[in-house]
């Protein structure tokens, strides 16, 4: 993040004022039946740097959002320990906390967060660890603490230290709308507008290393696929074909990109080698073939096609060149996304005229509808496979919402202004 180009920097500064209103807030609507009660004592701030963030509050928000934890209200705490010597288990048993997390923040430009997790019932320390990094990234450091605590207590790798892309649209009744492509932390904080346009922006997508993004922009009055480096801000227009230029999807090895082009007639799936820009045509059918996504092993592509009459998910095997239909349940299944395990696939599923997010198990071919909202679309799975972020409608406004892959946990992320849509959850990010 040090080599931010002058152009991107000025764009960020220019747009700094408008980021606040695009910020998302979180409202948890449903959690698990018996969430784990955890107390997160305010972290002691011992550093020379001014206090900029409430680290414990960031961690508390993360764990609450997972739906699997019920953080203890800070006002109910009988003490504020920040070292092991200050921990009195009876104070925490008294308020029915099962676990206690304490921590200390020190340093100035480089921060060091030491933290310790205790099992209140067993009266024992579970583990202690340290996270360190630049002070400007203190929220990301706090998310990394959340990741460690979450993994220790659930056995599942945490995905809090990740980021989101989304598109927001501010309607302008007297003229053209404003489209914005925004990058934010996984909790919606620290939104940065990457691109603003009076023409549509859609289909944001991450490179597998999380360092680049791809999207479709109509800024040339026609759809074109762009890629953008998040560190340098450098942009490159990848396509400018007649007709559709859509659905960019990075291959797992990062070397190529699947996309939809209709330059040869009907919409078909192509793969572009990103170094040579050479295209290979994958599908050749008069029907609509769109929304390609790679299986995590890189050996096959899933895509949406209405070759059977209505949109359904198909799989193209890149080794054999064979195509098979994947979904049969319901009249409409589209825009697949696959978890890293290669087994859980989420789709937009229509039943009884309503559009929901459904989970399709690629091993058993069983489908489970996860959402009860309507006009749900654009599902995106967290890199640890635990949660699905998607776009839906609340009244007349587009909002983001999330549901756990078992359907047990739900929360929404309403924005203060405009329509929010097309969330794309980043992969795990390297430090």
């Amino acid at each position: 993040m040090i080599r931010i180009s002058a152009a991107l920097l000025s764009m960020v500064l220019l747009l700094g004022a408008m980021t606040a209103r695009a910020q998302l807030t979180i409202e948890i609507t449903q959690g698990v039946d018996n969430p784990t009660a955890i107390a997160i004592a305010p972290f002691a701030w011992q550093g020379a740097a001014a206090v900029t963030e409430d680290v414990a509050d960031v961690i508390q928000g993360d764990l609450a959002r997972s739906g699997q934890f019920d953080p203890v209200d800070r006002n109910d705490m009988l003490g504020r320990p920040s070292t092991e010597q200050e921990v009195f288990y009876r104070d925490w048993r008294a308020i029915s906390a099962e676990y206690l997390l304490i921590g200390r923040v020190s340093g100035s430009e480089q921060l060091r967060i030491e933290f310790e997790l205790f099992d209140v019932n067993r009266q024992a320390k579970v583990f202690a660890a340290v996270e360190s990094g630049p002070a400007s990234e203190v929220r990301m450091l706090a998310h990394r603490v959340s990741d460690q605590v979450y993994e220790k207590l659930t056995g599942i790798r945490g995905a809090f230290a990740t980021r989101l892309l989304y598109v927001s649209v501010t309607r302008n009744p007297s003229g053209k709308d404003y489209y914005r492509l925004t990058l934010a932390d996984s909790d919606g904080a620290r939104p940065i507008v990457l691109l603003e346009s009076r023409e549509p922006i859609l289909a944001p997508n991450w490179s597998p290393d999380g360092k680049q993004i791809a999207y479709v922009s109509f800024e040339t009055n026609r759809p074109a696929i762009f890629r953008q480096d998040l560190n340098t801000g450098q942009r490159e227009q990848l396509t400018n074909f007649k007709g559709l230029n859509g659905s960019p999807a990075w291959s797992p090895d990062g070397n190529s990109m699947a996309m939809v082009l209709s330059k040869d007639g009907s919409p078909d799936i192509y793969i572009m080698d990103l170094a040579s820009k050479r295209l290979s045509r994958i599908t050749q059918h008069y029907a609509i073939d769109t929304e390609p996504v790679w299986m995590p092993d890189g050996n096959s592509l899933l895509f949406t096609s209405d070759r059977g009459g209505r949109p359904q998910i198909y799989r193209y095997d890149l080794r054999s060149g064979s195509t098979e239909r994947v979904t049969y349940e319901g009249v409409y299944n589209a825009r697949a996304r696959v978890a890293q395990d290669g087994r859980n696939m989420v789709v937009v599923h229509q039943s009884n005229g309503r559009y929901h997010i459904a989970l399709h198990d690629l091993l058993t071919n069983r489908m489970q509808v996860l959402t009860s909202t309507d006009l749900d679309e654009s599902p995106s799975i967290a890199p640890n496979g635990s949660m699905v972020l998607y776009a839906t409608k609340s009244g007349d406004r587009g909002i983001l919402a999330a549901v756990s892959v078992d359907g047990g946990v739900k929360f929404s992320l309403p924005a203060r202004e405009g329509d929010v849509r097309e969330p794309a959850w980043s992969p795990y990010l390297s430090r």
Binding site: P200, R222, I288, A334, E377, D396
Partner: protein, 175 residues
């Protein structure tokens, strides 16, 4: 354009008449005067024929333009369909008639309602724009004059849900 052959024929006749008049006389003054008068008459007649033809062409053009304007530039579609409805065909016929009198290029923008996924709708919007383009090409408009772009569900006319809004958004706009 259709008036031009008529004008051509009239002119040919006039010139032939003037030539015959000019040739029929001897080298007398009278015959020269007569030839000059005939030539002047021919020129006047030619001007009148041209003016009248231009007027007729302008009138015809205006009638076509009025008809096209009355037909509107938005053509609506049924849900998940790219089939042209009869009223859309009738409206397009008016535009096709007008386009045959000029060399304008047009842009067809395909749109869908908000239901279903964005990228599928992008493809559906293109299918709708192509269906209008194909109808125009079959009826004599060269395909190089027609550009098609799909906006999918990104640019609704009517915000909000429900068929009353959706039906306004499933459309192709001629620009």
């Amino acid at each position: 354009m259709k008036q031009l052959p008529v004008v051509g024929k009239a002119l040919t006749l006039l010139f032939t008449a003037a030539f015959l008049v000019a040739c029929s006389g001897s080298d007398t003054k009278e015959s020269e005067d007569a030839a000059a008068a005939a030539a002047a008459a021919a020129a006047a007649a030619q001007q009148e024929a041209e003016r009248s033809a231009a007027q007729q062409a302008a009138d015809a053009q205006r009638r076509l333009a009025d008809a096209a304007m009355e037909a509107g530039t938005i053509f609506y579609f049924d849900y998940d369909s790219s089939s042209l409805k009869p009223q859309a065909q009738a409206a397009l016929d008016a535009h096709i008639a007008l386009l045959k009198t000029n060399d304008r290029s047009v842009r067809l923008e395909g749109h869908t309602d908000e239901r279903g996924t964005r990228e599928y709708n992008m493809a559906l919007g293109e299918r709708r724009a192509n269906s209008v383009r194909d109808y125009m090409v079959v009826n004599g408009i060269a395909s190089y004059r027609i550009e098609t772009v799909s906006y999918g569900e990104e640019q609704p006319i009517a915000y909000g849900s429900g068929e009353s809004n959706w039906s306004q958004n499933r459309r192709v706009e001629l620009k």
